[in-house]
Amino acid sequence: MRRLVQFWRRSGAMIRRDVDAELAFHIDARTEALVGTGVPPDEARARALREFGDLEDARRYLRRVDADIEHRQRRRDYVSELRQDLAYGLRTLRRAPTFTITAVLTIALGVGANTAIFSVVHGVVFKPLPFPAPEQLVRIWSANPGSDARRTPVSPPDLDDWRAQRTQFTDIGGYWFADGGSGVDLTGSGDPQRLSVAFVTAGFFPALGARAEVGRLPRDDEMVRGGDDRVVVLSHGFWRRQFGADSSLVTRTVTLNGQPYRVVGVLGPAMRLPSDRVEAFIPYSTIPDESIPYIRPVRVLDVVARMKEGVTLAQARLEMNTITQRLSEQYPANANWSEATVMPLADAITGDVRRGLVALLGAVGFVLLLSCVNVASLLLARSSVREREVALRLSLGATRGRIVRQMITESLLLAAIGGTVGVAGAVYGSRALVALAAGQLPRTSEITLDGTVLFFALGATLVTGVLFGLAPAVRAAGTDLQSSLREAGRGLVSGGSQRLRTGLVVTEVALAVVLIVGAGLMTRSFIQLLRVDLGFRPERLLAVNFTINTGRHEGSSYRMFYRQVIDRVRAVPGLTSVGAVKHAPFRGNGERQSFVPQGMTIGPGEQPPTAAFIHVSDGYFATIGARVLQGREYNDQDGALRAPTPGALPVFSGTPTVVVNRTLADRWFPGGSAVGKSLRIGGDFDVPIIGVIADIRQTSIEEPVQPTVYINNMMNSRVQVTLVARTQGEPLAMAGAVRDAIWSLDREQTITSIFTFDQLVSEAVARPRLLTVLLGLFGASGLLLGAVGLYGVLAYLVSSRQREIGVRIALGASRSSVLAIVVRRGLLMAGTGTLIGVLAAFSLTRYLRDVLFGVEPNDLFTFAVVAASMIAVAGLASAVPARRAASVDPVIAFRSD
């Protein structure tokens, strides 16, 4: 039923009155009728009441029913009004397609960008870790307060002592995992392959509260040396990929490094610690002493622990420090390791990306604000046009509240359409973000558009709609009937509207400036990063990473295998140069060891200096394009192997030598005097320095280069090998040939990974690139929105003041002076906005400090460039309406409406 006339709705009191009146009428009418037949009045009334039945019960019932009717009717009115408003709103939007599309796209940009960024931040930072009571989980490191090494992994004996002496922790456990570094060979199950493995100690699974999805987790007695520790737990992903999610696997054995291991369980898909690249978990106890000795100075384990319920971080820290202090007094090897660092696990995981992401979230919030302001100013422009319509409706009896509701409904409708488009875009946006991050974000698998994210999007949309709808709605409500009916006909603009629009444009410009400053700083920082001298030339460098199986190449024969592999690969056509290193740049930091430079004496109680020790082959530096500053790098004669007796295994027979990097040489042998001097390594070997290499960025591009000693791998070998080859053509095209050359020596040799140095560099800059691209996009949208807003206001101003401009021209104003008036007006707005924006940015950019490299948050150059570009763009945006103003025909001044 469609109501054309709005009925007056009844209040509760009115309903009561109506019911009383209806009942009174009945009793009176019946009494009168009875009196009319001769019944005495008193008796007549009594009879009427008797005939009626329970009057009070009826009264209560009628009131209740009527209240229900009223309530339902009200709701129905509301719904029907809403439907009317929506239909009306849709019609209005359809009639102004340019406005609608601009507004929808602007909102979509704001909501979409925010949803995409929020989905990433939510997944990476805010979402609780997928373990029970995640707030009780902490990471613990060994700390050496003297050398400021606050976060060092923990030695297995220390961990055992921590675990034994704990009182505030449910459990403590550790793992050793190195992406691409820790693994075992799986054979007898299809092609031999290298599994990425986390070696875990007893206490690791209980501390996390992890559960097996199939089977069980290892018991403590299965995770100790000498115990029945050949057990393996598979990750959910690997179990599905390799074994097709076969549950019967849990009773079988698999061959790892040539040994049988019982598969005891499979973890759930949510288990992503230490990394979602882990394929299997194996007891740390299976690592033999020859590989990683079980001694205190070997600090290899990352440690997680669960605090008992109610235990605070401070209490946990106190206990860890107490135990660690005790151990440092007890064991000489721990003398300087007297403290422990305890940090919530969630913070430890997201640690260094948190700042960047939160900065992004802040920036994208500005984008949303900016799109709100932009749409508000669009709506305001329209509402001036619609003033006559509003006035007409007011004069036809619509209440102001009703009109405000209509306006808000329209705004929300607009917001809903824009929000929907935005969320659809965000689906692709968040995927693109993850791709752009190139594996440099933790927990990316938790990034989804789930309920929380959609709720956020809905909230953002609603807030947007109300924010940008409020100004025009309030204005509409305040429409002065008389004046707008009069003025609207004459095309004059009320002063209030113009002031509000100017204010909005200034706000827009200010917001845009903040965004562009962020983008500018990030871009400068990124350029600085790309300018860093890496110390090597990454183009056309292929890397093949593998681990030599010491079981198959016993004793020192793996050194021979290493030699043979390099020689065989050097024979592959299409490669210009081949070398090898334990860890490619950005894939490992080398081993931290102490050394004594020649001429230095270490007093009692003093610590010798330390350096990163990296194992390389001959020709490695030439291959990667590193510069030899002094002396030479290793050649194939430095690593001569000779069998001491015929038939025996060959051993290193050359003279031990080392190559160092420039940082070490400059620090300990200033003035270029390093070559010819020696380093005392391993306590009593004086090893001569034969060469100095220009610094190579090994840890990351941002961090300063560590003093580094390059060890000849033939002298002191490591089983981890990254073969590096400079190719003539496309590097990855040569991967097959290199692999085949390795397999021609040993078909069972597994390959851990194949990559190019270009990929390494690309990954190393992935996080700053992500930030730069995103902040750049935000800055660009800011600039665009600001310019569009400015243009809109000026264009409107010009078109609504044509007559005034015409008069000026008719009175002899030159066209250039008219042009100047409009441009000046535009520049004034832009200048004010820029000033405010610069001030705001000045106080906000410090939140970017942690993600900036080589540029200060208040970099004057960036601020100046941004301010200048904003003004320049504003000038351009003003030029178009200004030219239109200058070309106004003065005849218009004399035309009448």
């Binding site: 009428f25 009945h26 039945g53 009628l62």
Partner: protein, 110 residues
């Protein structure tokens, strides 16, 4: 049921009210008089359930109520059948006729 006046079967009152209003819009008292006259006292109908039925029917959208002026110049609440009310009356009437016919077939030996 040995008395002259019978108690009303449940749901019957609604039909009677709808039927009554089908003639013309009436106030509650009018409906009460009209049914009383038509049944000649066979049915014992109190006014309380009658008013409850009227308001219930209003809630169901079968009747529409409006204040008007009665014959003796007093404000009275007038009830008018709506389209939905008319449909309901038709449906209930035919159901009643079928029901009554079935009962008669059992009561009257063939």
């Amino acid at each position: 049921m040995d008395r002259g006046a019978m108690e009303l079967l449940q749901g019957t009152l609604d039909v009677l009210v709808l039927r009554t209003l089908a003639w013309q819009p009436m106030h509650g008292y009018g409906v009460s008089r009209w049914i009383r006259e038509r049944t000649q006292g066979t049915l014992e109908i109190e006014d309380a359930p009658l008013y409850k039925a009227l308001h219930r029917l209003e809630k169901a959208g079968c009747v529409h109520a409006e204040w008007g002026i009665s014959d003796n110049n007093r404000r009275a609440r007038y009830y008018r059948l709506t389209t939905a009310g008319r449909q309901r009356l038709r449906a209930e009437e035919s159901a009643w006729r079928r029901y009554a016919a079935a009962v008669f077939r059992v009561l009257e030996p063939a």
